[in-house]
């Protein structure tokens, strides 16, 4: 399986990433892509900007582990994970997960699995600026619950 993991400050091009996944192999019958954007609200208050910190080196290893787990669970041809870091503005693209496989069920489920694990395992931390006040975003129980459903399936 082909996997690409990138952590970068600059934006990504959805169409270009899709093309790469599409062209991995003529056996690719489906490509599922997910793009996460910066929301303009945090706890019902608007944000001016969001800054993402991560743990260089460890983050890449953890993402690779997550992609490897997905590969063991589903029949996949290619996976791309891109996560941006640094300062972002509302509506900016934050995260991309693309999965290429022969059949759609594998790609849909693997993409959700990768996102659910990324949200609860990968070493990223968000800080928001709300009218000049900076504070760290708290983790959400709903994200932990989303991850746990994959454990029940084991």
């Amino acid at each position: 399986m082909n996997s690409t993991i990138r952590i970068q400050a600059y934006d990504f091009d959805l169409a270009a990433e899709y093309e790469l996944l599409r062209q991995f192999d003529s056996a690719v019958g489906t490509v599922v892509t997910f793009t996460g954007l910066v929301r303009d609200l945090e706890k019902n208050a608007s944000i001016n900007s969001l800054t993402l910190q991560h743990y260089p080196g460890m983050t890449e290893s953890l993402l690779q582990e997550i992609v490897d787990q997905a590969q063991q669970r589903w029949d996949l041809i290619g996976v791309t994970v891109i996560h941006r870091v640094g300062e972002l503005l509302p509506s900016d693209q934050i995260v991309f997960v693309g999965v290429a496989s022969q059949h759609r069920a594998d790609a849909f489920e693997a993409a959700q699995f990768v996102m659910d694990y990324l949200k609860t395992k990968a070493t990223f931390w968000k800080k928001v600026d709300q009218n000049g006040q900076q504070h760290w975003v708290e983790s959400k129980d709903s994200d932990r619950t989303a991850k746990e459903r994959w454990l029940r399936d084991d």
Binding site: G36, H54, Y55, M58, K119, F124, W125, W136, E138, S139
Partner: protein, 82 residues
């Protein structure tokens, strides 16, 4: 020397904390944390919260993992990426 890293909100409490400490026989993350209690009580309180994870050389480990000279010890609050 042991390199210390504090991520996310923990970094806000770690001002003035030295970026590295001397290696010592029997050192564990628990001992490193407890050693911060006197001079950095707010940081110590944050590090003592149950959701804080630790990594040694970028691998998640337990609080009683032995720490050897040259290691990188990081304190990780709950992650919020994606």
């Amino acid at each position: 020397m042991i390199k210390l890293l504090f991520f996310g909100r923990l970094g806000d409490f770690a001002g003035g904390v030295s970026a590295s400490i001397e290696a010592a026989e029997g050192l564990t993350p628990t001992i490193v944390r407890d050693g911060l209690a006197a001079d950095h009580p707010a940081l110590f309180a944050e590090l003592s919260q149950s959701q804080v994870l630790i990594s040694l050389n970028q691998m998640i480990v337990g609080w009683d993992q032995p720490i050897f000279d040259g290691a990188e010890l990081a304190f990780l609050p709950p992650v919020t990426g994606g």
